[in-house]
């Protein structure tokens, strides 16, 4: 028992414990200093930067300072920095082979940060996902979808895919696809649509609304009516103008036809029909 206690005392009084404590103190101070420095830099430079730049600057400051303190702590423990660097080189090759996907995401992340196709706070559509960009990290982009789900998309996917940024420009266009019956006067329809756009204050006067005769459909004449809107009013106008179009078409007796099918009997004789209990019924 005494030997055991003596051993403990020997170890405690040895230099190793002090070195270990010193290294721990350096690492802890590093955490605190890195965090404080990152916050201080943000306070000073924050007003000149956008959300994404703030995030990048704060992370760079944090990780660089933390890295320096950790290296210093390792040095205190007796690790030679040259050996560490050499080991890191060998390790990085091994890790590189083992984690190709992560490395690819990492490199893609650097390209994303440099290219800046979108920033934190933008709303983007990638594949079937539309959402607000919460952060652009080294390995992935995090989105909050419009129905409040958290989506993580690997940077490699973002780099390889077509990304649409919905909030890049202050105005955007709403394309409405309409069908009217063949009997309708297209000039009258066009005039009515233009009047509706003119009356709705959310629809921009300039660029002018666009009316396109798309073609002769199976059941209707297909039209496209495109109106421009301030980005923030997109949904408001999309809802209000379609409601106004429906009301105006009903008022003016303009028919929006349902799909129609014409059945041809194939011969000279039409389908024979007989009435059963007040209802028409085919003989076939």
């Amino acid at each position: 028992m005494d030997d055991w206690w003596t051993n403990i005392l020997n170890v405690m009084s040895s230099d190793r414990v002090f070195i270990l404590l010193r290294a721990l103190v350096i690492a802890s101070v590093g955490f605190v200093v890195a965090r404080m420095a990152s916050a201080a830099v943000l306070r000073v430079m924050g007003k000149f930067l956008d959300a994404q730049q703030r995030m990048i600057v704060s992370r760079v400051v944090y990780y660089v300072l933390l890295g320096l303190f950790l290296l210093s702590a390792l040095h205190e423990l007796g690790f030679s920095l040259s050996i560490l660097v050499g080991a890191a080189g060998i390790l990085s090759v091994a890790v590189g082979f083992a984690s190709q996907t992560s490395a690819s995401n990492l490199i893609s992340g650097l390209f994303l940060v440099a290219e800046r196709p979108f920033s934190v706070g933008d709303v983007i559509t990638l594949g079937a996902t539309t959402g607000e960009v919460l952060s652009i990290d080294l390995l992935s982009v995090k989105l909050r979808t419009l129905d409040n789900l958290y989506v993580r998309i690997p940077n490699e996917t973002v780099i390889k895919s077509e990304v649409t940024t919905l909030t890049k420009f202050p105005i955007r266009r709403i394309d409405l696809q309409l069908g009217v019956a063949y009997k309708e006067d297209i000039a009258k329809v066009r005039e009515l649509l233009l009047q509706l756009a003119d009356k709705n204050p959310l629809s921009l006067e300039e660029p002018k609304p666009l009316f396109i005769f798309l073609g002769f459909g199976d059941s209707a004449i297909n039209l496209q009516f495109s109106i421009w809107v301030k980005r923030e009013n997109f949904l408001d106008l999309k809802n209000s103008i379609q409601e106004e179009i429906k009301i105006a078409f009903e008022r003016e007796d303009i028919e929006i036809p349902f799909p129609q099918r014409t059945l041809v009997a194939g011969g000279d004789q039409p389908f024979a029909v007989r009435v059963v209990e007040g209802r028409e019924k085919s003989l076939d």
């Binding site: 105005i171 921009l204 006067e205």
Partner: protein, 266 residues
């Protein structure tokens, strides 16, 4: 031509509210209801775009169904002081006015045209003019002014007859009149299809006849697509002894200054 009823009392100014009282305004298309309680103001409004000549200010109003107003808003304060300041102001974005008929200004000529624009209302409470709300008397349509959909700025859209004879300008009580001097110093005819007025740099003045005027704007075109603009820092001469009612939202560069505006004419 000017068949607008004469306006004996201005609709702007300071109004005193006793606690619990409510008043109603009818200013052109806008109907405005305001109520003062011990620690809050209630504001509701609606617009009827077909009515332009109405002008009734600070009528006593008793309505048991305040909550029926869809636009009702409550503004809470520590102590709602009895004074309410109603000030005419101008839109918060430039207004692009399109002449009903495109104007052609011959080379070397100049002309003054009068552009009429709807004012906004600014509501401020108490001695310290605590800002409550700004309301557009007439909601103008949005528009985009710029060479492309990438470059430019959001504005409000309006049409103007660009009348040269002031007597022909319909003087609706809620609209301001801006005299615009256009000078064509080039050797080509200037075709004016759209005119962007930076109303956020203009002041509003009230004339003795209770009409609203803005600062005069001078535009000079020499060549290319650049037009220099100058805003006078005083009431226009046509307004007589007009008093300033509301300064500009943003100060133009010093001394009323000449600012180059690219693509001023659309």
């Amino acid at each position: 031509m000017n068949d607008t009823p004469r306006q004996d009392h201005p609709w702007w100014g300071t109004v005193e509210f006793s606690e619990g009282s409510a008043k109603r305004w009818e200013i052109g298309p806008l109907t405005l209801w305001i109520r003062r309680l011990a620690q809050e103001w209630w504001i509701a409004f609606e617009r009827d775009e077909k009515k332009h000549e109405r002008i009734m200010a600070a009528l006593e109003y008793i309505d048991p169904d305040w909550l029926g107003h869809a636009s009702l808003e409550r503004y809470l304060t520590r102590h709602a002081q009895p004074m309410l300041h109603i000030t005419p102001t101008l839109a918060d974005r430039p207004v692009v006015t399109r002449p009903v008929v495109p104007l052609h200004l011959c080379a070397g000529e100049e002309a003054t045209v009068y552009v009429s624009l709807p004012a906004w209302i600014r509501l401020e409470a108490g001695l310290h003019k605590l800002m409550l709300k700004e309301i557009a008397i007439q909601r103008l349509s949005d528009t985009w002014f710029g060479p492309s959909t990438l470059e430019g700025e959001l504005c409000y859209a309006s049409t103007t007859h660009c009348r040269q004879d002031l007597r022909e300008v319909p003087l609706y009580p809620y609209r301001t009149i801006t005299p615009v001097l256009i000078q064509n110093r080039s050797k080509q005819t200037l075709v004016l299809e759209r005119l962007s007025l930076p109303v956020h740099f203009l002041s509003i003045y009230g004339s003795p006849e209770n009409r609203l005027w803005t600062s005069r704007v001078s535009l000079r075109w020499e060549h290319g697509t650049t037009v220099s603009m100058e805003i006078e820092a005083q009431a226009p001469a046509q307004a007589g002894k007009a008093q300033i009612l509301c300064g500009p939202r943003y100060e133009p560069e010093k001394g009323g200054v000449i600012r180059a505006v690219a693509s001023f004419f659309g």
